[in-house]
């Protein structure tokens, strides 16, 4: 631990030092101020100059704050008095920070109009502009950002930091200090240069002062630019380059090789649209969609039935594959589900959601895919129904055959036991699956029949294979598999090439690590 020994400096004890540890009020710079409760404010008297002087980051707020002061002057019934107050405000860090804190909380955070009385209340008496004092009362709170939501869009959509107000218990672990960093890219309002320089340097020329608030003849010797009596220590910070060891990052790639898409969470729709002749409306029957039948991936649900009333009782991401059949023989065809497919909820008869791209391809393959986002709470039942308008079905098609529902990645399931990984094998060349075992894994594969040229698991994997760390695999016989083995599951972290998540790979380089 870095350690410093500092000689306490009696010269810092202005006022009554014996009370410093007791009283909240400290006589400082001619004012009684509260130094204990200042930490729920955006600035203190120590750093208000630094904050308001940082035009790079805080340009918008500086300008607005100045406008607030200027409007106070303009709207005052006694302009000379207002200007005197502004001068006093400007020359005193305590008052300036008090007013700015009020302004920040009111206007910046909440988007309300800051009252001019916040300036007035900094002065004890209007008639005595030289001997005011102010008492700042605030609570010694800790910081909770639960209200961290955009409140004010004035700053080009950038959210000002919320100053927390509510007390948070220590054991909740929230002890947060607001950071404030206005984006440097925000629009600068009309006043690009403030007539007042709020920075620590203070006004040095008349031009800096501006005439608008009546500060035309600064007497620098009378100014109090209080930067805080402080100690300064050196701090050494380092970064451990392996603080995220075993975590490596993969960049997102927008376009992956098709064969790399053999993973859960998405599937590829790379069929080209060869067009179809939109002719007849599709008026076939219904197909049963039973999302609970994910174990039946690759199996036909029911032939020649389209979208019956069996409820969707599972939150899932469904992919539907179908053959378009002309009586007696297979022809090419198209099916548009996503634009016209409707999902109805039993109890609330309105559209829930249809997501996905229209599949209007019709090459010489029988299976076409679309995906329909059926995610939702599985407390509800859903009926999946095709609308009556399916315009891209070629002439002659009068049935949709072989509709395969399948459940893709399940997100909203709380029981980890039910997390299964479904991987689609897409046509179009060799595929590889990159299963990476983080923990001992056991792949049990449902024997998916080869369907019209689509690859099946047999082409890729042995039907059963255990993967995992060597030392764990020694105990592979002791594994207890889930009784409800579905089409495939892999109890491992799976490396999915396009999902940009961390490779927890066990590889040759780490062999020694694990041993």
């Amino acid at each position: 631990m870095q350690r410093h020994e500092l000689l306490i400096q009696n010269r810092f004890f202005t006022g009554t030092p014996e009370n410093l540890g007791v009283s909240r009020l400290i006589y400082k710079n001619g004012y009684l101020v509260n130094m204990e409760g200042e930490r729920d404010k955006i600035v203190t008297s120590d750093n208000v100059r630094a904050f308001l002087g940082d035009k790079t980051k805080n340009q918008d707020i500086i300008t607005d704050f100045f406008n607030y002061i200027e409007n106070y002057r303009v709207n005052s019934s006694n302009i000379p008095l207002a200007e005197a107050k502004i001068r006093s405000l400007y020359y005193n860090n305590e008052k300036l920070s008090n007013v700015f804190n009020e302004y920040y909380n009111t206007s910046v955070i909440s988007g309300n109009t800051t009252l001019y009385s916040f300036i007035d209340q900094e002065f004890y008496s209007d008639s005595d502009t030289n001997s005011y004092y102010t008492t700042v009362v605030s609570q010694d709170n800790y910081y909770n950002y639960q209200d961290f939501m955009p409140r004010n869009q004035n700053y080009n959509g950038n959210t000002p930091w919320k100053i927390p107000t509510s007390l948070v218990e220590l054991n909740s672990g929230i002890n947060i200090i607001p950071g404030f960093a206005m984006s440097s890219g925000v629009n600068v309002p009309n006043a690009t240069t403030e007539p007042i320089d709020f920075s620590e340097n203070g006004p040095t020329t008349n031009a800096d002062m501006g005439t608008v608030i009546g500060i035309t003849n600064p007497n620098l010797s009378q100014q109090v630019f209080y930067s805080g009596e402080s100690y300064f220590i050196d701090v050494y910070l380092e970064r451990t380059s392996n603080n995220t060891k075993r975590l490596t990052f993969e960049p997102c790639k927008n376009n992956q090789a098709k064969e790399s898409l053999l993973t859960s969470g998405y599937y590829s729709d790379y069929y080209n649209n060869y067009g179809g002749s939109p002719s007849i409306a599709f008026t076939a029957g219904t197909i049963t969609i039973n999302p609970n039948s994910y174990s039946q991936y690759g199996n036909l649900i029911e032939s020649q039935v389209i979208l019956s009333n069996k409820p969707l009782t599972y939150s899932a991401y469904a992919i539907i594959a179908a053959n378009l059949i002309k009586e007696g023989f297979i022809i090419t065809g198209s099916l548009a589900l996503s634009k016209f497919g409707k999902v109805y909820r039993d109890d609330i008869p309105h559209d829930i959601d249809v997501y996905g791209t229209t599949i209007d391809h019709s090459i010489n393959e029988e299976l076409i895919y679309t995906d329909i986002n059926l995610t939702g709470s599985f407390e509800y039942n859903y009926n999946l129904a095709l609308g009556q308008n399916i315009p891209l079905v070629p002439a002659g098609v009068n049935k949709i055959l072989d509709l395969y529902p399948a459940i893709n990645t399940i997100l909203k399931v709380t029981e980890s036991k039910n997390q299964y990984t479904y991987t689609y094998l897409l046509r179009g060349g060799p595929v590889s699956i990159d299963f990476i075992a983080f923990k001992p894994a056991y792949i049990n594969m449902y024997n998916v029949p080869s369907i019209n040229g689509l690859a099946t698991w047999e082409h890729v994997l042995e039907s059963k294979r255990a993967i995992g760390r060597p030392k764990d695999l020694m105990d592979i016989d002791n594994f207890t598999l889930f009784g409800e083995i579905k089409s495939i599951y892999v109890n491992t972290f799976q490396k999915t090439l396009t999902q940009c998540f961390v490779d927890l790979a066990y590889d040759s380089k780490e062999d020694g690590f694990w041993k």
Binding site: H4, L20, G21, I42, F148, F232, I233, R239, T240, F249
Partner: protein
């Protein structure tokens, strides 16, 4: 097993915006003292925490005398800045590329944050609060990408979890992918938790390792003790005032020296008593030059 096989330490290159500073005070090491860290500043600027020029890793930190005003031990914790955000959604972001491959990534959606840029929080860590607003211990995720997104127009806003997003630099939400985002299926105790809509998370940077600094406020140092040993001093035999000066001729300590007879027995006691009323006439320069 070998340690630190992955590399070496690096000097942290951070600014005042990246740090949180807390403190706690203990008067002595014999008492418990504060058990609660308090924020040292409401807002940390370069005024409070300033990088030193010349190299990374070294910073000047200001300690306000209004807080560091007691003899004792101050413990300072400098850690990466944290802030709390509520997850808006947990869903997919989908790329749309006609005739190309459509890729989705799962992750969490949070409000657009005020950072340097939309991609600026890759590498940050995410911690989670449970339903009771208590931070889940020893559980975190790493942000692997952050992009501004908009709600996919084909999404339904009526059903939680059914909304998907697409990349849009003008978006008002930020989509974060996290790692790891898969769960081990062999343990029923683990959940693949990226978070849920409405859940509070704590995001903090990983720019540096937290440090703890101990600052001991003392009323004497070796330097001040040396005044008593080696400093110039005067002893006024008329008034008994013994004055010690610092190295610059300023009065540092002043004592009354006198001898008192014991009250109930014979004998005398030499007494050295620190004065609270300083006699400023005991100026070393004046007295030594008579």
């Amino acid at each position: 097993m070998a340690v630190a096989i992955y590399g070496s330490k690096k000097l942290a290159d951070v600014t005042s915006e990246d740090v949180d500073i807390f403190y706690a005070y203990s008067q002595t090491r014999e008492a418990l003292g504060d058990i609660q860290l308090k924020p040292l500043y409401g807002n940390i600027t370069d005024n409070e925490f300033r990088k030193m020029f010349g190299a990374d890793g070294a910073y000047k930190m200001r300690l306000p005398s209004s807080i560091f005003n007691k003899i004792g031990f101050y413990t300072l914790l400098v850690k990466p800045k944290s802030f709390e955000v509520e997850i808006q959604d947990c869903s997919y972001v989908v790329t749309s590329n006609q005739n190309e491959i459509e890729i989705s990534k799962k992750g969490i959606v949070i409000p657009k944050l005020q950072f340097q840029g939309p991609a600026s929080i890759a590498g940050y860590q995410v911690e989670y609060f449970d339903v009771n607003d208590v931070k889940i211990k020893n559980f975190h995720r790493i942000v692997t990408s952050s992009d501004l997104v908009k709600v996919n127009p084909s999404s339904s806003l009526n059903v939680a979890g059914s909304t998907t997003y697409y990349l849009d630099p003008a978006g008002t939400s930020m989509f974060l992918t996290l790692t790891p985002d898969e769960v081990s299926l062999i343990s029923e105790l683990q959940v693949p938790n990226l978070g849920e809509a409405g859940q509070k998370i704590l995001i903090s940077n990983t720019f540096f390792d937290p440090v703890m600094i101990e600052v001991e406020m003392v009323d004497q140092t070796i330097k001040t003790l040396s005044y008593g040993l080696y400093g110039n001093s005067t002893r006024d035999l008329e008034t008994g005032i013994y004055s010690i000066t610092d190295g610059e001729g300023n009065l540092y300590k002043q004592y009354n020296l006198y001898t008192r007879k014991k009250r109930f027995s014979n004998g005398k006691v030499d007494i050295k008593e620190e004065r609270t009323q300083i006699n400023y006439d005991q100026n070393f320069l004046d007295l030594s030059q008579a």
